[in-house]
Point group: C2
Chain length 294, copies 2
């Protein structure tokens, strides 16, 4: 069945409030459109857990550090609504820009420590824009739970920390990354890759997996493990590495040795396209010490 398309804040909020008042559970999947199987996994997870599933489709200008990247995010709302229909989504919230930002945004939510490294280092203001729009969306769509992909691991960590620190009454559910059969993590950016770039793109996941295997095999020296994976990536001249790091999964700070959950995270450029990916290691075997504290 086709989901109901809602464009006004006042309408979506009252719908969600009414759902909750009538005892129905609500699950929220915030997106920037260009929906693919990664988003489908979020919707399906919400669908299994909740009575009412709400998807938002909004390309948030304040999280883009480069105007050309924002402009490349062309929205095809009709296609996105059809995509949601096929996943039995109940409500699609697709506000106009002016509805979300009726006047200059003066208020920002910042999560500095968690945002400082990795993507935060290379995309100034990105996580501030993400945290701010997600704080807005959580006030607009006051659902029981919200669903985010692990592929954007730092975003997930920023949002989790924001929700905890600001006492936002919503559960954050992390959904595993969906991959192509050759390992490439799904992303709306993949469609910008040339055929030659697409062929080498799975090397990012291979380099992450190589690091994971080393840790599983007892490796404990982060620098050594990183070096081997970086060498794998360097062997491919089309790939330019932005970062390759092993960080704690909560604050995304580089670790020297391992303890508790860590993420191995990478960002690379393939031509004009930036790709990110990561793997989570839930039970790193050996005690560790964070490199830096603030």
């Amino acid at each position: 069945m086709k989901p109901e398309l809602i464009q006004k804040i006042v309408d979506i909020r009252s719908r969600v409030v009414d759902c909750r008042a009538s005892g129905r559970t609500t699950g929220f999947v915030p997106t920037m459109g260009a929906l693919h199987a990664g988003h489908a996994a979020l919707m399906e997870r919400a669908r299994r857990a909740c009575d009412v599933v709400i998807v938002s489709v909004f390309v948030n200008p304040i999280q883009f550090d480069r105007p050309d990247d924002y402009e490349k995010y062309s929205l095809n709302l009709q296609a996105d609504v059809a995509f949601c229909a096929a996943r039995n989504v109940d409500l699609v919230f697709a506000p106009e820009l002016k509805e979300m930002y009726p006047s200059p945004q003066h208020t920002y939510v910042e999560v500095p420590r968690v945002s400082d490294r990795l993507c935060g280092e290379y995309r100034p203001g990105h996580f501030r824009g993400v945290a701010t729009v997600v704080a807005k969306l959580f006030n607009i769509v006051p659902a029981d739970a919200a669903y985010f992909g692990e592929k954007d691991a730092q975003q997930l960590a920023v949002i989790r920390r924001m929700v905890a620190d600001l006492n936002i009454p919503i559960s954050i559910v992390a959904v595993p990354t969906v991959r192509e059969s050759d390992g490439l993590a799904l992303s709306s950016r993949n469609q910008r890759l040339s055929p030659a770039e697409r062929r080498v793109a799975p090397l990012v996941f291979k380099a992450l997996e190589a690091a994971r295997a080393k840790i599983a095999g007892g490796g404990r020296d982060a620098a050594e493990i990183k070096e081997a994976s970086v060498a794998l990536l360097r062997a491919e001249p089309r790939i330019r590495i932005e970062y390759f790091e092993i960080v704690d999964a909560e604050e995304m700070q580089p670790v020297e040795q391992f303890q508790g959950p860590v993420r191995i995270a990478a960002a690379v450029w393939l031509g004009q396209t930036r790709l990110i990916d990561n793997v989570l290691i839930d039970n790193a075997p050996i005690d560790s010490v964070p490199i830096s504290t603030s």
Copy 2:
């Protein structure tokens, strides 16, 4: 009747959610304790408008720019609860520090433009701390309306902007400043004044009123109006002026000439005590141009 004292976030939130689910209107008065007639005016206003009145008592460490100022805020919870009882408050939320900040706060809400001038210029981080704790409190006490005094005019402007920008579903109600018979605005800080300081303290309001009278009489040159009031304050050697400004009431930016609502706002030091006050001019008579835009 004595209000119910609640110390846990989970308890106060479920109480407020239950109230709203049962159709009762809820009014919230956030305070830092040391309650006085200014707070009473907030409670009485909430009492008239709402079925259930909630007062929070929490001295928020992250909004203090000077540790000694924070330490001077000694809390007498028993007295504050008795004060609330006399105003027919229903619920007092008085969390421990660890309840509000169980781990280091990494997330901050910033409202830079509105926070930049006046108190924000002299109290670095103050409005960041205010906006952050109020964002937390609005998630913890999801009331229909929250009540703030006009005496803290910049705080009011910061909170109003935050609520609008982050789509927080709460109405902000401004309550006029309560004054002693000699004009001194009520503040918990007044009790720190020596008798000699207390005698000259009403001069702040007199200087604000002098400026208001000039505007009412057709004055239109902000610099000239300020100069006359500053001279009044300078005549009293116990007073050290921090700022005396005429600003627009929404973004708290200095204006050269007047249009729409403006505030005349001052901060002074009397010995070790900092006092602030302001008056609102709702219908400034003449067209104006803001000095600065960002």
